[in-house]
Symmetry: C2
Subunit: 212 residues, 2 copies
DNA sequence: CGTCCCCTTGACCTGCTTCAAATTCCGTGG
DNA sequence: CCACGGAATTTGAAGCAGGTCAAGGGGACG
């Protein structure tokens, strides 16, 4: 679907911690992430930070930009990122069927956001971290980047904390407990999930929370 | 903009606590809320509930339905509701400018959802309740339903709790404290905000969190 | 005038935070 | 190859914001 574009000419690279978009900026193009991870976040005046979206390979950054507004939240690279610049218009050729490409992506983004409202509002630390790790694994798997029961997981515990609304210290203790219970293996930026169903159980998902 | 429709024929009514949409249902039409409040929510297996969206007069319920998926969360009437049924298609005639009508609504919904991620993930009880009351007032004002510094506020403390991720008991104590500090007046389903700037300060907003 | 919500208050409890300090990891340069 | 420095992870101890449990009060409505 993207092969129509001359990839070489529109490919862009970002280094870790570099901005893909800044606050209040009207982005001139969407980015189709080919490699690497990025995140959108908001910073409160006293330093509290909440990550509001993750961009993984195969994701559009950000579908919402095509709806015409400015980007009200900065987007920063978590790892080095390789991406394609796409015109920031709604790809009308894709039709409105909602099952493919851009519309699928937009719809998925909204759905995931709604699921995180539930997790941040009502779930315990254990359930939050389980939700995050499950979502990451499922998204990586759908992108063809999972190998058996494992996938790359470049997030630091600090970043996990900013995603789950916890402190880094408590994320650490929660991960310890999950390792002790055999729910996950997580070391040197790789995640392995021995038993998906067990982790799903712990995450208190509802059946709508993600594909798989 | 909606006058093209024969209003009488497409008008529908819902009573308090009646469902506007059920889980897993593919809605046959969007609803343009003319009067009354509704909310979307998710229920966990042990009874925990999180409200993920509020629908006020002038809102579409729900823009996301036009993107083609099923409604993965139920929508229920908080008060009696009067609404117009609209075809569940993307109103292409509206153009993609993102400043009017449907696209504006979709974009606003996503933006509000992202703001609530920050609030649920990182803010204190006081900041959460302040955010909610401010958002309600601003949205009612934009709908032309605020009178001076006040507007209707039909939510029970239980519903405020399910929106802010708190317990009803703690919502009560938080409201007491806000009343004592003169931040809000809230009684018999009416909300009055003596000083908007003071409440904004307390809500720890960032300048992107809402119009006004 | 009784019943059902909703709101209110009190006492106690706990999951998570805070603060502080070690320890391990890892990229870089000698 | 090893020494070094900064970041990330880990551990401990103490505190607190908000949760839990339980009981009482008030207003709308039949």
């Amino acid at each position: 679907m993207l092969s129509q574009v001359a990839e070489g000419e529109n490919q862009v690279h970002f280094r870790m911690h570099q901005f893909l978009a800044r606050e209040n900026e009207k982005p001139d193009a969407m980015l189709y992430v080919q490699e690497g991870w990025a995140c959108r976040y908001r910073l409160l005046s006293d330093g509290r930070r909440q990550i509001t979206a993750l961009y993984l390979p195969g994701d559009y950054c950000d579908p919402q930009w095509a709806l015409g507004g400015v980007s009200s939240q900065p987007v920063v690279a978590i790892t080095n990122v390789r991406a394609l610049r796409l015109p920031c218009r709604i790809p009308s050729h894709a039709g409105f069927d909602g099952r493919h490409g851009f519309w699928q992506a937009l719809s998925g983004t909204i759905e995931r956001q709604a699921n995180w409202l539930v997790t941040l509002g009502r779930k315990t630390a254990l359930e939050r971290v389980a939700h995050l790790l499950l979502e990451l694994f499922e998204r990586m798997r759908q992108a063809g980047l999972a190998y058996g029961q494992q996938c790359a997981m470049p997030l630091t515990q600090m970043e996990i904390a900013d995603m789950t609304g916890l402190t880094p210290v408590h994320v650490n203790r929660t991960l310890q407990s999950m390792r002790a219970r055999g729910l996950v293996e997580l070391q040197s930026k790789w995640l392995r999930i021995p038993e998906l169903p067990a982790l799903r159980e712990v995450a208190a998902l509802t059946g709508h929370d993600m594909a798989g």
